[in-house]
């Protein structure tokens, strides 16, 4: 069989694989539909180019395979053709790039009404901090982390007192409310990634990174760590639950604030002190 047909089969096979594949995007659950659109655009333009180039190649090898004395074209350069190809490619590239940059501009500019959520990553788990009634997170430093102060919140920062601390890997979010995820790591690189939300960003020790999205589908989603972070990387999972407004209020009212945590600990210390004294 002429090898050209096998190459043809490879191309046809690729297309068929795409048509019949059971593997495709998870259903989107955030506002980043535009990202899917840019991917689809790139997919169709790119896929088209791939098929055209390969079909042309197959045509050439079928048509012009070796024959003694075949007349071969001798044309080292063709400026017109080269110019056309350059311009066409440039236009194609601009068509792909421009929408991408517009979406990215939305991605890095967070809406004003976004709820701030601090995600703190460590080897190998997650915990979260939400602002209290003042709507602001207190400043925090890694070196201040201790058993009593699991987030390293600066004690002299008034904004920190009412912060809501969630020392579990389950985070609840409200539907249709933008969230700005502030990522923080206390040891190595991590990445807070929910495939359905499409967006992701590394958590780096030493600085705070961010990204935002607006969950728009009630449900439970698995969080994956998407940046290699050591032996436990593959097991570093968590859960995000997108709630209706009511359920969200219920959940958040059950959570503990930083000041109540301090009070509780002081209590505990008091009790041990009294117990010691009694002995």
């Amino acid at each position: 069989m002429h090898p050209g047909f096998i190459f043809l089969a490879v191309i046809v096979g690729s297309v068929l694989f795409h048509i019949f594949t059971p593997w495709w995007w998870t259903d989107i659950a955030s506002n980043w539909g535009a990202m899917d659109d840019t991917i689809n655009l790139t997919f169709w333009i790119g896929g088209g180019v791939f098929i055209l180039v390969c079909l042309f190649m197959v045509y050439c090898i079928l048509k012009f395979s070796y024959k003694e004395g075949r007349k071969v074209e001798y044309k080292p350069e063709d400026h017109k053709l080269e110019k056309i190809l350059t311009i066409a490619t440039t236009i194609g590239v601009i068509a792909l790039l421009a929408p991408g940059l517009i979406v990215y501009n939305n991605y890095i500019n967070v809406p004003k009404n976004a709820l701030h959520v601090e995600v703190m990553a460590w080897q190998w788990g997650w915990q979260y901090r939400l602002p209290g009634e003042d709507g602001k997170l207190g400043t925090a430093q890694v070196i201040k982390i201790s058993d009593e102060n699991p987030f390293g919140i600066n004690l002299d920062d008034p904004y920190g007192k009412d912060d809501i601390l969630i020392q579990s890997d389950e985070l609840h979010l409200k539907t249709n409310r933008p969230v700005k995820i502030l990522l923080k790591s206390i040891d190595v690189l991590h990445n807070f990634y929910v495939p359905q939300f499409r967006s992701k960003m590394d958590a780096i020790p030493g600085i705070v990174t961010y990204y935002w999205f607006e969950p728009n589908k009630v449900g439970e989603y698995e969080v994956l760590c998407a940046e290699y972070c050591g032996v436990g990387h593959y097991a570093m999972r968590a859960t995000v639950i997108v709630d209706s407004d009511e359920n969200y209020e219920n959940w958040i009212n059950e959570q503990e604030t930083f000041s109540s945590l301090i009070a509780k600990q002081n209590n505990k210390l008091e009790i041990t002190r009294i117990a010691k004294n009694n002995n």
Binding site: M57, V103, D187, Y234
Partner: protein
């Protein structure tokens, strides 16, 4: 001499039309080439076995030494990839496989394949063998330094392999070696393993610098008479530009290696901010892990082109020779290689869109990255236009070239996904990335390497490789590799993250189990089929059909040596004199379907050759 200059600058066609009209005295004029600028090179000829084959200063022997060492590391890398694939496809099958081992294998596989296999093979192996032959030099310009370069590389490989046997094993930080995890106890091999890796990389850089200086200066300053830059085969252009990139990119790697070694051994805080690990505050503070990523990718992105550009160059030559047609748009090919090379220093942070760097960089790097797509696409067009109205020999070499085009176009287009920042965000750190870069800088360059081996084996050994085995080898490799990496993109679409030891009960990935098993089986077959290749090489060394001179009827200088295989000094008594580019195939009016570079115009008077 000034009038000699005028002669040289006179267009050759003008004179040849004159000669055709009958003035007999000017035949010598159209063959005029400027006299030699430099005296003959002073060569050291080895006498004993040691100086001839071990501490040898002949670039061809050094090239073979590089080739064999690189292939050895490549086989180690291949075996590691088998073990990884077995774990992913059939967890619990390999009894000793723990997460630690898995990550160590991932890391070593990546580093070996990118640096110690592909870079060393293309530049050290093909570069050393082909550069002096193709530009018409007796040897590299600094043979002694060239020899030291290989032995540096050899020591680097030894140090790398030694890291498998130190306590804690080799580093398991991922081939990017990102701090802080690379040097903290949470990753495997964060003790001696990472230190040896960094030392080995530094040695590699030092050794490579020595070799790289040789390649550059041989190409720039030691070409033979008549060999202008625009008459060099594209192979040389690819290797030249890649070497230039390496000379400017490896410094960033060296610097990051030195700084990380200090972070590890002296507890400096270049890349290490304040860290609390396992409830303990570590003695670091104020450093920046993102700085490492910038340095690493300032090296890492040119590194991608260090692997790709020689492949581009070599494949252009192979296609032209075996399609019996000149390469289309030679000038554009050259400028595309140079342009891609230059641009590759301005795109590095497209590997870092989700790394937490300054978010505004995304705009800059997405733009520069997509600009690179233009010259790359032009190269692809030129390859396939070369095939148009050609006379294509469907032999193993050509098959590998076609395999290269398919895989490269596929991988190049997925590159546009990942270069465009908004598209990259959902896809980065997933299997899509793995599929992309294996397609574009794993399989595609490998196709070229194998094609190049089938092409130049007759030159190196004087015997042909078996075509029959070659074709089996090609189809197993190409179809197998394509069916590994094409479906793998779809794992990335689902969102399966890379570097996962196992997926266990994740809801996304249960649907991918079947595909993982399929990919693993394909990977095992592709790997095993490489032994056909090795068998072919070993048997053909002694039993292959004798090749004779210039079996492919190629034009470039390496086939025009006085002896095949070429001996030390390459060209016998006199160096060749070059009159044309190496792509004069099927020139109208010429008797044969090829005109070698050394054929003077007076011998092919009727050929309507374009001036080069």
């Amino acid at each position: 001499m000034s009038d000699e200059y005028n002669k040289q600058n006179t267009p050759i066609e003008a004179q040849s039309s004159e000669t055709m009209s009958g003035s007999s005295g000017s035949t010598t004029d159209i063959d005029y080439v400027r006299p030699a600028e430099l005296p003959e090179q002073d060569l050291y000829h080895g006498h004993s076995f040691i100086t001839k084959w071990i501490f040898c200063q002949d670039a061809k022997v050094i090239g073979i030494q590089y080739f064999l060492t690189a292939v050895f590391t490549g086989i180690v890398g291949l075996i590691l990839s088998w073990l990884m694939r077995l774990q992913l496809g059939f967890p619990d099958l390999v009894p000793f496989m723990t997460a630690e081992h898995y990550y160590q294998f991932v890391t070593m596989h990546g580093m070996i394949m990118v640096v110690y296999f592909l870079t060393a093979l293309f530049l050290g192996g093909f570069g050393n063998y082909l550069i002096p032959l193709m530009v018409g030099a007796r040897d590299m310009v600094f043979p002694y330094v060239n020899m030291v370069s290989f032995w540096m590389f050899f020591i680097a490989v030894c140090v790398l392999m030694a890291s498998f046997f130190v306590p804690g094993g080799p580093t398991g930080a991922g081939w990017t070696l990102y701090p802080p995890q690379a040097i903290l106890p949470g990753s495997p091999g964060s003790g001696m393993g990472i230190v040896l890796m960094l030392i080995s990389l530094s040695l590699f850089v030092i050794g490579f610098t020595m070799g790289g200086l040789n390649y550059l200066i041989t190409i720039l300053q030691a070409r033979t008479r008549g060999m202008t830059l625009m008459r060099m085969p594209l192979t040389i252009w690819g290797i030249f530009t890649a070497t230039a990139l390496a000379m400017l990119a490896f410094p960033a790697l060296l610097v990051s290696c030195i700084m990380m070694t200090l972070d590890k051994l002296l507890e400096t805080s270049f890349f290490m901010p304040a860290i609390v690990q396992a409830g303990e505050v570590l003695d670091y503070g104020g450093g920046s892990p993102v700085l490492f990523q910038h340095l690493f990718w300032f090296f890492g992105h040119p590194e991608v082109y260090i692997v790709a550009l020689p492949a581009f160059g070599i494949v252009s030559d192979l296609i032209s020779v075996h399609a019996r047609k000149n390469i289309f748009g030679y000038r554009m090919m050259v400028w595309a290689i140079v342009g891609i090379g230059a641009l590759s220093f301005f795109v590095w942070a497209h590997h870092m869109y989700v790394s937490g760097m300054n978010p505004w960089f995304g705009f800059f790097f997405a733009t520069t990255t997509l600009i690179i797509a233009v010259p790359t696409a032009l190269k692809v067009y030129n390859w396939i236009i070369t095939l148009f109205r050609a006379n294509i020999r469907m032999n193993t070499v050509m098959l590998f070239c076609l395999g290269f085009i398919v895989t490269f176009v596929n991988g190049g287009i997925t590159g546009i996904f990942l270069g465009n920042v908004a598209v990259d965000i959902p896809l980065s750190d997933t299997y899509f990335v793995i599929a992309h870069f294996h397609m574009v800088m794993g399989i595609a360059p490998l196709m070229v390497i194998m094609g190049a081996v089938y092409h130049w084996f007759p030159l190196v050994t004087g015997r042909m490789l078996s075509e029959k085995l070659g074709k089996w080898h090609f189809w197993f490799t190409f179809l197998g590799a394509y069916s590994i990496y094409f479906p793998m993109h779809y794992l990335g679409f689902i969102g399966v993250p890379r570097r996962y030891f196992e997926m266990y009960d994740s809801p996304y990935v249960t649907s991918a189990t079947g595909m993982n098993e399929f990919i693993t089986v394909a990977a095992l077959i592709v790997g095993a089929s490489q032994f056909i290749f090795i068998y072919n090489i070993v048997t053909s060394l002694r039993l292959g059909k004798p090749a004779g001179k210039n079996p492919w009827k190629a034009n470039s200088l390496e086939w025009l040596t006085s002896e095949v295989p070429p001996v030390h000094g390459n060209f016998g008594e006199k160096l060749p004199v070059v009159h044309r580019w190496p792509y004069d195939f099927n020139v109208p009016g010429a008797k044969e379907d090829y005109i070698t570079q050394t054929t003077p115009p007076s011998e092919v008077i009727n050929a309507e050759v374009e001036k080069t």
